[in-house]
Symmetry: C2
């Protein structure tokens, strides 16, 4: 056995240089496969180590035959880590050869998780937002605020971003990113409402909470807006949510699990479609300029496995990473 496995650290994965446009394309392709019933994605089991009540490590396996992708993400979330100067989310992804099962690559999963989550928002927006959306509101300007803005800027003719974040440091870093890196007119707003009203696209990307803070009230969202709830239903009053014309998700089974077993998404609208149904045309996306459409995507193993082979391929081409003996 002279087989070698390519190890990619967090920096390596980033340095491979997969673009957001490529990521969005791969994730959309994954959703097409899923919409056509051609993805194997078993329920994700988890363990809950340590003393922190909300600690988890989840196993997220998936197989996408058409993309020759099979593997698993093994990802932990420890809320207490931030106090220790460690990331909340950490983990590894193993990519396997579909023909032999042999591990091809082990890679840090943080970058892929961030990118594919934003890419899924953008794929939802492609089918649910107005094509000419030019103003975007971002509520909470952390990592997902950045990547979601980038992803939307790939698919829409964005001109202006209105950004809200309670942390001065976060919003200043974000403003610099949005203006300098993406060339957008950037307004830091003092009130959450100012990021919502008047926006064509809204992304809520704060912490995911079991008891929603319900900051966004009924009447704030304009007609024609698309909202990506990256932080589930945390940001919305129930009245605001029930203004939804179309309330969608990336996976109904997982959504129902979160709703019925974990306790998220209480009193939310009825699911109109899964993203796989939208991208395959099995359900129609936006039908008028007046609809208020929502995506509450949960993050799927399929999305990771749609992106991982591209990272691996580019890493091999560019000579990034460490080859390990099996």
């Amino acid at each position: 056995m002279n087989h070698k496995i390519l190890y990619l650290s967090r920096e390596d994965v980033k340095n491979v240089g997969l673009s957001m446009a490529e990521t969005i394309e791969a994730v959309e392709q994954g959703f097409i496969e899923m919409g056509n019933g051609n993805v194997e994605m078993p329920p994700k089991p988890g363990i809950h180590p340590g003393l922190g009540e909300d600690n988890f490590i989840h196993a997220m396996p998936a197989y996408i035959p058409a993309m020759k992708s099979a593997g698993i993400k093994w990802v932990s979330g420890y809320p207490g880590n931030q106090q220790k100067g460690l990331p909340y989310i950490m983990g590894l992804l193993v990519l396997n050869d579909t023909e032999t099962g042999i591990p091809l690559s082990i890679m840090d999963c943080a970058w892929i998780t961030g990118m594919r989550t934003a890419a899924a928002s953008a794929v939802s927006a492609k089918y649910l937002a107005r094509k000419n959306s030019s103003t975007i509101g971002i509520l909470a300007c952390g990592f997902q605020g950045h990547t979601n803005l980038e992803a939307m800027s790939v698919l829409f003719p964005l001109k202006k971003v209105k950004a809200f974040d309670p942390s001065k440091e976060n919003r200043e870093k974000f403003a610099e990113y949005a203006s300098k890196k993406l060339g957008l007119e950037t307004e830091i707003v003092e009130e959450p409402k100012m990021a919502v009203t008047g926006s064509d696209i809204v992304v809520t990307s704060g912490p995911i909470l079991k008891i929603p803070h319900e900051t966004i009230k009924s009447g704030w969202i304009d007609e024609g807006t698309f909202i990506s709830c990256v932080d589930f239903d945390s940001y919305f009053s129930r009245d605001a949510l029930n203004e939804a014309s179309k309330w969608t998700t990336d996976n109904i089974d997982q959504y129902n699990h979160y709703k019925d077993k974990v306790g998220y998404f209480q009193n939310c609208p009825k699911i109109y479609a899964e993203l796989g149904e939208l991208v395959t045309g099995k359900k129609v996306g936006r039908e008028s300029d007046k609809e208020k459409n929502f995506a509450a995507n949960l993050g799927l193993a399929m999305e990771d496995m749609a992106v991982a082979p591209l990272v691996f391929k580019k890493a091999v081409e560019k000579g990034v990473g460490i080859w390990l003996p099996m």
Copy 2:
């Protein structure tokens, strides 16, 4: 983040030098924790890539609080690999820090899988075989034949081994191992029956088959014998199985899954006990010198996670492996 992850190749894991005695002790400790309800081990999901109908890659997560062990084994089985000169079973194990979730080590899982499977046989034998067992029959002399013999030799005053294998190469390699390495009187037998009748302990360690070959017939097994069916029920006629005084397994839930969903263990005896119940004294083990006792252990994520921290600790102490940037 200056954290480093220790990578251990297949050779590294072996070279760490964890003994079979240490492995058995760790696996028994794991079963005590499990028997006391202190192990988190969710169902193992899998994907089934490629064209081979029986290909699988299984996710096996477990958390053993008392052993400060949390992690996952991601292990593939591709029956067609042998024709390609590749192992049937391949995979990786990730060990996580229970306090932060951070990955501590990534290691090849082949050695641990082999060792812990044999160790579980031995733990079963400790409670179900006669203490003075001195003659052992091994049917099929592959990797599991070797490790099971070694494990039994740790716990029992073995003097003689009778070995059957259709492959001349296998049985000659095995005979050399048994006589030279373990110092046992070694007899290669031409007929399966000769390895069964007259043995205090019997291990069947052939391929696991959905349609059992049922080689071992009623009347072959002596009174007082303990049998470890490493290859499930493949080797036994139903009549021979139903001579069992005590038919046991390592995990009833998983056993029932294999029986009811996958199709193994049809018309087998009723389960008397889980191994965790035996090691904690919740169910009594052997009660007379006449019992014919069986263990049909399936292999649990808990067993891997009981052993992995010891491998990691020894590797750190001995400076084995490659430290990877996270």
